[in-house]
């Protein structure tokens, strides 16, 4: 028997967790002598109060959707892919190569090519830990986290020694040609009289992310591969019984996961920076873990959680800009949200389950 209704599991628990995180954050802000209500106000207006704010919130959310989906797919096969960061960096490398060295007639074709390249690069980076896990039993958590460092070092080398334009002091590639610049929300939604999303980085890859949510949903719940992936995730011995090869599923799940993480580069590298810079991922690979946890590994949950974290990122930046609340404290607030929604899930879940059980008993 289910312990509580599905809506409580999917909606109520994250909301309560979020509320607790907010209360604790408010106490922290209070403790350093700032006004928490004003701070929340500032975050909300900064992130959601204008199309400019939304443009940033959705830009960040796009990154988190890709990495969140990446973590979620691996979760379904009971693997913890902490390597989203490195896979997204490699995806950026793929995007940069495609954009810089091929003359594209139009951004739309370039976007398709960039999607393919970023997925291939991200998947390739995930393939090695996947192979090591499947064939050699090296734990995926250890190997993917090490591969994040290797990716950073590789990117450093590529940017400093190979891809940096002659004479530039900046460890970054040249700007991508005009033809591959993606349409931003500003160019997509503004009219002559009314300019919206002015200067904000949100771009068309937001819709690529939404498409990815749908594709992942269909893959996990509507295809045979998704069936095998979930079966393997629930029980490895069960998978062996059913003739599902653990080696094959491990590798395929990680390839898909890596490809999704890599796809993030279409947003941050191609859509926003329009060149490849050092540390372009800015920790989005790790936020993806929290997003997948909070979204309960469901693409729709990932979508919502990504927007929440986009809000926290943008709101946090506004807070740092307009108050004397230090930047570090904003990281603390973000960490509290991750802690409550991800790690402390059971703290809210268990009392709530008890409550629902006793309510049901009374009803009987």
């Amino acid at each position: 028997m289910e312990k509580m209704p599905k809506w409580a599991d999917v909606v109520l628990i994250p909301l309560i967790s979020l509320l607790l995180a907010t209360i604790l954050s408010a106490l922290v802000i209070l403790a350093i002598g700032e006004n928490p209500i004003e701070a929340v106000n500032l975050m909300v207006t900064g992130a959601l109060g204008s199309t400019y704010g939304w443009g940033y919130t959705l830009y960040y959310a796009t990154n988190f959707m890709f990495t969140g989906l990446a973590v979620a797919v691996a979760f379904h096969a009971r693997m913890f892919n902490i390597g989203g960061e490195g896979q997204a960096m490699l995806g950026g490398l793929g995007v940069a190569i495609v954009c810089l060295y091929v003359p594209w007639p139009h951004w739309s074709i370039a976007l398709l090519a960039a999607c393919a390249a970023s997925m291939i690069f991200g998947a390739a980076w995930a393939a090695i830990p996947a192979y090591l896990q499947a064939k050699r039993g090296s734990h995926i958590v250890i190997t993917t986290i090490m591969f994040n460092f290797i990716a950073a070092a590789l990117l450093n080398y590529m940017l400093v020694n190979v891809m940096r334009p002659q004479g530039s002091q900046d460890p970054a590639t040249a700007r991508f040609p005009e033809a591959v610049h993606l349409p931003t929300f500003q160019s997509m939604f503004s009219t002559a009289e009314n300019i919206v999303f002015r200067g904000a980085p949100a771009n068309i890859s937001f819709f690529v992310a939404i498409l990815a949510c749908f594709v992942v949903w269909a893959l996990i719940w509507r295809t045979r591969l998704g069936y095998e992936l979930r079966a393997y995730g629930h029980s490895e011995t069960g998978a062996v019984y059913a003739g599902i090869s653990p080696v094959r599923i491990t590798i395929i799940a990680m390839l898909i996961s890596g490809a999704l993480a890599g796809l993030m580069a279409t947003n941050n590298v191609m859509g926003e920076a329009e060149r490849l810079v050092l540390n372009s991922t800015e920790g989005a690979g790790f936020i993806g873990i929290a997003v997948a946890l909070m979204g309960r590994s469901h693409p729709f949950g990932v979508f919502l959680a990504a927007i929440l974290f986009g809000f926290l990122y943008q709101g946090g930046a506004e807070l740092a800009l307009w108050t004397s609340i230090p930047r570090e404290l904003i990281v603390v607030i973000q960490a509290l949200v991750i802690l409550f929604t991800g790690a402390l899930d059971n703290m809210v879940r268990m009392p709530l389950e008890k409550l629902f059980l006793s309510l049901r008993k009374e009803a009987e």
Binding site: M1, T223, E228, T237, Y241, L357
Partner: protein
């Protein structure tokens, strides 16, 4: 009337909405063996956990020797003279017998004085109850029967007056079980009170003084053993009349379907578990493999089912099967018309978090009938599930329920339905009724016999001798990776099979 050794008055315990125990009262006279019998999930284990202080009852009282006693934890249970022998022993494998007995009952910080004191007391106990074990052997060096004695000694060392044994014969050979009951007789003669929890009717009938029957959390009856019959107890357990024997006509064996020659299987640690066996199963017959758990039967099933590589020759309908590498996995076996009801339905046969309708495809999910383009045809799957649920009387009849929400018997019905409805040439069946209630056992046995009567070959592995006897047309006994011999069920008895199961060779079959 003497003061009861232990008396429960109106014990109730609920886990959320599930009423595990409901107003249970029993009274056990000192110096008797009292059986508690009931199906899985009837609440026997919950009741014993309350007695041993693992759970707290919502209502009710426990009286020990005429005194009302609170048992908040296991320490209190031990202090009031209750000793418990669990189904799964709680022993430290790489400690000696003596160290295990002392563990948790040491005096002071130094080990040596406790050990020498224990050694002396152990000697007295052994002599008093004729419970001989070598105190200096490590647990992993002694057999299961011996380990159980250590558990009993542990309880006696802690001055237990009331001994509770939970499914004590589950892992024993028939001979070891007989020895156990001799020990219990002896303990009873010395004035100890013994409570045995089991689902085996025969043990209850042969060894207890009184018996209580539990059904769905309630105590349905307490009767004197010599005034009842197995049929009456079974009916009390299930709540309706039950056929204890399977009705079947004599087998009409046809051509050999499965031939196994010199099969060897190594486990993942490289230990040889099946040591060159020969077997065959013909069309229209059930070959039962008897044996104590862990003598290579599981590995045999796993190789046949494509879950594990092996060496040697296996032929199906005369054609050799791949035993390792490509073409040896579960998918290949299914394509060759081998169906498999695995030993462990919770870890292998079902995905517990999947809906019933997802589980009905498990293993056959690549069947073209379940595909629609690049997607799975979930509607077809659900229709198929509805049909199987109806035909196999799965309760509750809800295709959307997760496998874990069904009772053990209904879970097994889902697995059996899935495998039998494939109309296989060979059906592998491992422990088909483990953890399954009597009503469902009857049903599942009927289905297996019906498949046999359609001329299919069936390989049955079970540790329950009763099941082996009632289903098999031929019996092979495995011990230590060898087939010790083959017998016909009407030409042998439990005693002879018990000897073979213990590795005592009979004349070659």
């Amino acid at each position: 009337m003497t003061v009861p050794a232990i008396e429960l008055k109106g014990i109730s315990k609920a886990f959320g909405p599930v009423q595990a125990n409901k107003d249970i009262s029993i009274s056990v006279a000192p110096g008797t063996i009292h059986g508690i019998i009931g199906e899985n999930g009837a609440g026997k284990s919950t009741l014993m956990s309350i007695l041993y202080g693992f759970y707290k009852a919502n209502k009710g009282e426990i009286w020990i020797k005429g005194t009302k006693t609170d048992i908040p934890d296991s320490q209190a249970a031990i202090a009031s003279g209750i000793g418990m022998v669990f189904q799964h022993f709680k022993l430290v494998e790489n400690f000696t017998v003596l160290e295990n007995i002392v563990l948790g009952a040491e005096d002071g910080g130094l080990l040596a004085p406790s050990l020498s004191k224990a050694r002396k007391e152990l000697k007295d106990l052994e002599e008093e109850y004729e419970l001989f074990v070598d105190p200096d052997k490590r647990i992993d060096e002694i057999g299961v029967g011996m380990q159980q004695r250590v558990e009993i000694l542990k309880a006696l060392y802690r001055k237990a007056e009331i001994l509770i044994l939970d499914e004590p014969t589950g892992v024993l050979t028939p001979a070891e079980a007989d020895q156990l009951f001799r020990i219990l007789d002896r303990l009873r003669a010395e004035g100890k009170t013994i409570i045995v929890i089991t689902h085996k009717l025969r043990e209850i009938m042969e060894n207890t003084d009184t018996v209580s029957v539990m059904r769905r959390g309630q105590m349905t009856a307490t009767v004197k053993t010599n005034e009842t019959s197995p049929e009456e107890l079974a009916e009390l357990m299930v709540g309706r009349k039950v056929l204890l024997q399977v009705d079947k006509v004599p087998a009409q064996p046809g051509k050999p379907i499965l031939e196994v020659e010199n099969l060897r299987v190594f486990d993942s640690a490289g230990v040889e578990r099946v040591k060159g066996i020969d077997l065959n199963v013909r069309a229209g017959e059930i070959l039962g493999i008897a044996g104590v758990a862990g003598n290579g039967q599981s590995e045999l099933l796993e190789v046949l089912g494509g879950m594990r590589p092996g060496q040697g020759t296996i032929r199906l309908n005369g054609a050799p099967l791949a035993l390792s590498g490509a073409g040896s996995d579960g998918q290949a076996r299914r394509a060759q018309h081998i169906a498999h009801v695995p030993e462990d339905r919770q870890r292998e046969g079902l995905i517990m978090d999947f809906h019933a309708w997802e589980n009905v495809a498990f293993g056959y999910h690549r069947d073209p009938a379940y595909q629609r383009g690049i997607f799975m045809d979930n509607a077809a799957l659900r229709a198929d599930t509805e049909a199987k649920i109806e035909k196999f009387d799965v309760r509750p009849p809800d295709a959307w329920l997760a496998a874990k929400s069904f009772s053990g018997g209904n879970q097994q019905k889902i697995v059996v339905a899935r495998e039998i409805e494939r109309n296989p040439d060979l059906l592998l069946v491992g422990q088909p009724t483990r953890g399954v209630d009597i009503g469902a056992i009857e049903f599942i046995h009927k289905q297996i016999v019906a498949l046999r009567d359609q001329g299919k070959a069936i390989l049955l592995v079970s540790v329950e001798l009763e099941e082996i006897f009632s289903l098999s047309d031929r019996i092979a006994v495995m011990f230590d990776g060898h087939v010790m011999g083959e017998r016909l069920p009407h030409e042998t008895d439990e005693k002879e099979l018990g000897l073979l199961m213990a590795g005592v060779a009979g004349e070659a079959a």
